[in-house]
Amino acid sequence: MPTCFATSDSESCIPLTRDKTPTRLTKRTISLRQFLRLSKVVGIFLVAATSLMSLGCQSRVASTDEIVIGHFGSITGSEATFGISTDRGIQLAIEEVNAAGGVNGKKVRLITYDDKGDPREAGSAVTRLVTRDQVTAVLGEVASGLSLAAAPICQENGVPMISPSSTNPKVTQVGDMIYRVCFIDPFQGSVCAKFARENDKIKATKAAILCDQTAPYSVGLQEEFEKAFTAGGGTIVSKQAYQAGDQDFSAQLTSIRASEPEVIFIPGYYTDVGNIALQARKLGLKVPMLGGDGWDSAKLGQIAGDALNGCYYSNHYSHEDPSPRVQNFIKLYQGKYQETPDGLAALGYDAARILFTAMKTAPSLSGKDIAAELAKTTGFEGVTGVISMDANRNPVKPAVILEMKDGTPRYVATIAPGE
């Protein structure tokens, strides 16, 4: 059967006959030969330019009196605050360690690449860090999907990678070079489910889920929440999906509205969550919304404003935590950047400090030795809690629940593992 494209193909045969009739259609064209000559010139220019550039880069070999570490993160794009906050946290830790004489006498230098929140970009950024810049260790990413894209590259090249805040369990399952300093989603999902069932203001038995089906983080967290929520006797009345960057959520929200849930669980990233909240309130959905650490950004409040009042999310730390290690960090951070650090900045800081501690005690700076030291981490006093690596290179630590009030997150509760 001929398809539309087949017929249009036969249509494209017409130019052959057209060429013979001189018309006004053909005022300026270049012949194939001219085109080839042109492309040759362009080609030679490009080859010369790239070889010059690579020559320029060759001269940038890491000197022996410094340690180069790499960071890849979303400095631009829909999740830009993730990368920016993490980078600031890391910078702060580096400044601190360099001021104290560096790691075993060597200064630490950071190379940061922007992956624009795109898994392909993340892959090439990490390849560049590992092969061209020859970094000693890699820090990154926040989004689990991007860490999953980069982890196999670090694993293959034997470069230790610490993800500050990717919570999907699969990230560290890639291999023994991959670590993280945050809790993982089975725990986070159960924390959210427990909170939804037991909090006095929610006390939900019926929940709806709206999940970003393109993000491994979101899909994983959704599954864990569903498991924990139904195990506790609740029912999931509606399961809807969107794709990162979607603008129109009305079909999903109308459907959720019809199922009459008592809470809506949205395990997404802040830009999408903000848009969802605005549209949900417009449709007259007044039930509280609940989410994970993907909500953690100052931008969330800017996008959604008071549409998120009375909504909660689980996070790694709260800036209202009175303990000195948190308050000291906040003071340092505010001194340098004039803003309150979010959880991702704290995790970036912790990730870098754990790395330096491991480097200091490791017999050499080879990937294997550092990784072995990282695996031994126990009782590390981080800003986001006491970090001990388990056998699967995941820390076990508590989560906090924050409530959105007029665009700012306020501390509500801490939930420790096993509670």
Binding site: E11, T29, T76, S78, A251, S255
Partner: protein
């Protein structure tokens, strides 16, 4: 019932946007027989130009650029709209003049690949810091945030259908633009020339029709409609993605599917296709599952191509030997 009406209204608004974009695809195809992949980037250009104009124009009337307390006077909104239309049609003209006209005699495939190249170029130039930047932005409100809640049911089962002003405006403005295009193409001398070029370029040229000018105008018209779609799109969905975000590509792709479903090359078909795609997408997502939103759209495309390869309103093309 309330949910059905709510879905219907969203589908009408989104269908209008798809139709506006689909018109550009279909007009270019009708005249030049190739798919202008850079068309969706004109939508992005329209959206981001609206934003750039808005944040510069709002302070002129004493409003906060990013979060105006009240919408600006209506002449300002209309002025931004017209400026976006003009600049987008200029961009369409330039793209045709610089990228496609030199390839007028080249095989269709070359032009098609060039179109993809132009699309990538526009996307990435748009991401540069001194152009639009690579971060999402929030479009300031240019229209009053009026909503008309319609009440359904009584007591316990009370439901509201919310009809926002912006949906009505999208529907009305797109309707007017489509009507204007219809009149232009079927009632004016220029339209006759355009249809003649579309029917047979060589003979149109022999009849003394300035073919190049007709083609340029086609691009300008299509791009103006795409710019209008971009403007209306960001008014409805104020949270804007960065220019190279895949969501924009998907928006363009769905509009292209609309053009094919309606019968590519057919103007009324593009409008019909736009609404059909929006209905399938919205009602599918509401009644079946939102997990397969895009699947409904592209399944429909496959189905139409199998049953009626020329699209719903497309005329059968004779195989020429």
């Amino acid at each position: 019932m309330a949910d059905f009406l709510q879905t219907l209204m969203t589908a009408l608004a989104i269908g209008s946007l798809y139709a506006l974009i689909a018109l550009g695809y279909t007009m270019v195809y009708g005249v030049l027989k190739f798919i202008n992949f850079a068309h969706s980037d004109i939508v992005v250009l329209g959206a981001w130009l609206s934003y750039s104009f808005a944040i510069r124009a709002l302070p002129l009337v004493g409003l906060d650029a990013h979060n105006p307390a009240t919408p600006p006077p209506i002449w300002m909104t209309a002025g931004i709209f017209v400026a976006v239309l003009l600049l987008c049609s200029l961009a369409g003209f330039l793209i045709e003049r610089l990228a496609y006209r030199p390839l007028r005699r080249a095989p269709r495939l070359n032009v098609l690949i060039t179109a993809i190249g132009v699309s990538l170029l526009l996307q990435n130039v748009g991401q540069l810091d001194f152009v639009f930047g690579a971060s999402p932005q929030k479009m300031p409100a240019l229209l009053p945030n009026w909503e008309l809640p319609i009440q359904f049911g009584q007591g316990e089962s009370i439901r509201y259908v919310v009809l926002p002003l912006i949906d009505c405006i999208i529907f009305a403005v797109s309707g007017l633009l489509m009507l204007a295009l219809e009149l232009l193409i079927f009632r004016t001398k220029f339209g006759t020339a355009l249809r003649a070029v579309s029917f047979n370029t060589d003979f149109a040229a022999l009849m003394g029709i300035p073919v190049d000018r007709a083609i340029s105008l086609t691009f300008m018209l299509g791009s103006a409609l795409a710019g209008a779609a971009g403007f209306l799109y960001v008014l409805k969905f104020p949270s804007m993605n960065q220019p190279a975000h895949s969501v924009w590509v998907l928006l363009g792709l769905k509009a292209f599917v609309a053009a094919v479903v309606g019968g590519i090359g057919n103007i009324r078909g593009a409008v019909l296709g736009g609404f059909i795609i929006a209905f399938v997408e919205q009602f599918g997502a509401y009644y079946i599952s939102s997990n397969y939103r895009d699947v409904y759209v592209f399944s429909l495309l496959i189905l139409i191509l199998l049953i009626k390869p020329t699209g719903l309103l497309g005329s059968p093309v004779r195989e020429k030997v």
